[in-house]
């Protein structure tokens, strides 16, 4: 019997898993909620640490997964548990009977307006990392285009490591993303002073530390250890931020033309919705719970249901891709075990 493999989410993890499953001789089905594939990465401009274009990666993944059965603009209406399989009803009226599901529903970007003290959505000169990346991608943004760009600030850990925002986890990629975006700002505006306000810098990945040294030494990015406490607007329409320079133990104040908030990763509503239908458990950090956080990250506690990518927690692009490959292999081994 030919097994249906349902991949929920057409982001990079879903695409990579589909590509691998196609190579193994299966014909997976991808269900994508939005009108295009590639998820968050598709709207990103360049990827750390080598500044490789995100578009090339996504185009490659989409091409490799093109043999899959892809449903765009499609959501799951409901899931029925059958004796040894699931009946998935899609919003386009198609129903699929399957024993294997791969959940690649990804993450959501933290809603920065929840941190009211930073003034996102209140002041024009406050944007997020995602807004800036869209602008790098060639989309006009009056908040950036109309500003003088003499001084730009980055606030790390917005909605990450923040119990009040109900996200105690580290979003992992924002430190290095801030370094990358700060460098890009200096490349575009060599005269601008660029400040990064951080609590810790977590440069855990390959070449991240080099990238950070590069930002300090060659681009003169000013790293200030201290979390921005409040943002206000002055009469000229610029933003004034206050923080503590914890290395000198003194309060610090600076006027900026643009403030970029490094909004973190949170479990997406889509993930929670899918998890609620199957149902799948949620871990204490709000992301989906793996069978084991060391040995079985890509397995759910339910037989035949697998995970890949940021639905189980913040991940970098290479991590999400590696998990997708691991999950594809797990699916393959699971199908072999059914025979």
């Amino acid at each position: 019997m030919k097994e249906n493999i349902v991949i929920i989410g057409g982001g990079i993890a879903g695409l990579e898993a589909a590509g691998q499953l196609l190579k193994l001789g299966y014909s997976p089905i991808i269900i994508e909620r939005t009108e295009r594939l590639g998820g968050h990465v598709a709207s990103w401009h360049r990827l750390f640490p080598d500044m490789s274009p995100a578009k090339e990666l996504v185009d490659g993944l989409v091409a490799a997964a093109s043999g899959a059965n892809i449903f765009l603009n499609t959501e799951i209406s409901f899931v029925n548990r059958l004796k040894d399989s699931y009946n998935i009803m899609l919003s386009n009226g198609i129903s699929i009977i399957t024993r294997i599901m791969l959940v690649t529903t990804g993450f959501s970007v933290f809603d920065a307006s929840k941190k009211e003290e930073y003034g996102y959505g209140v002041y024009d000169q406050v944007i997020t990392n995602r807004d800036l990346e869209h602008w790098f991608n060639g989309n006009a943004d009056p908040r950036i285009d109309n500003s003088a760009m003499n001084a730009v600030g980055f606030v790390h850990c917005v909605g990450s490591r923040d119990e009040k925002a109900r996200n105690s986890q580290c979003s992992k990629v924002c430190c290095i993303t801030a370094v990358k975006q700060a460098i890009e700002i200096r490349q575009k505006f060599p005269e601008a002073s660029v400040y990064c306000f951080y609590m810790d810098l977590r440069m855990f990945g390959k070449k991240y530390e080099d990238f950070y040294i590069n930002a300090q030494r060659d681009y003169g990015i000013r790293f200030i250890r201290g979390r921005v406490s409040e943002v206000s607007e002055n009469i000229e329409g610029k933003v004034v931020i206050k923080a503590e320079d914890t290395l000198s133990g003194k309060p610090v104040k600076v006027t900026l033309d643009l403030l970029v908030l490094m909004a973190g990763m949170v479990c997406s509503q889509a993930s929670s919705r899918v998890a609620g239908m199957i149902p799948l458990p949620t871990d204490s950090d709000g992301f989906l719970k793996s069978k084991d956080n060391v040995y079985g990250v890509v397995e759910s506690p339910k037989e035949g249901i697998f995970y890949a990518g940021a639905c189980t927690g913040p991940k970098t692009v290479p991590e999400a891709l590696a998990e997708a490959r691991a999950a594809a292999l797990d699916v393959h081994l699971f199908i072999n075990g059914l025979k």
Partner: protein
Amino acid sequence: MDFGFRISPSSAINLDNVDLTLFERLHEMEPDVYKCMACGSCSATCPASVYSGMSIRKVILCLQRGREKEAFRMMKNCMLCGKCTMVCPRGINTRHLILSISKLYSETK
């Protein structure tokens, strides 16, 4: 009239008013000056530190925050022994940096 109390000046640093022209020149002479990540190895190993408060990491920070006087007060106590250069994990030639700071800032004073 002296009431025996006064308002002390604000210790806050306003980066808008800090003139970093000299520091940028220092950065051109010593590109590594920005590499300091304030780990404190230099101050911990400095033989002058415990007696005088000398700390090259604080000197670098003070210069970036427009507190030159404080920096020079600390630097007067440096004996140029070079122990800080040996321990710096970022490979900053701190001894050379101290000499460059002295040269650059005294020239312009």
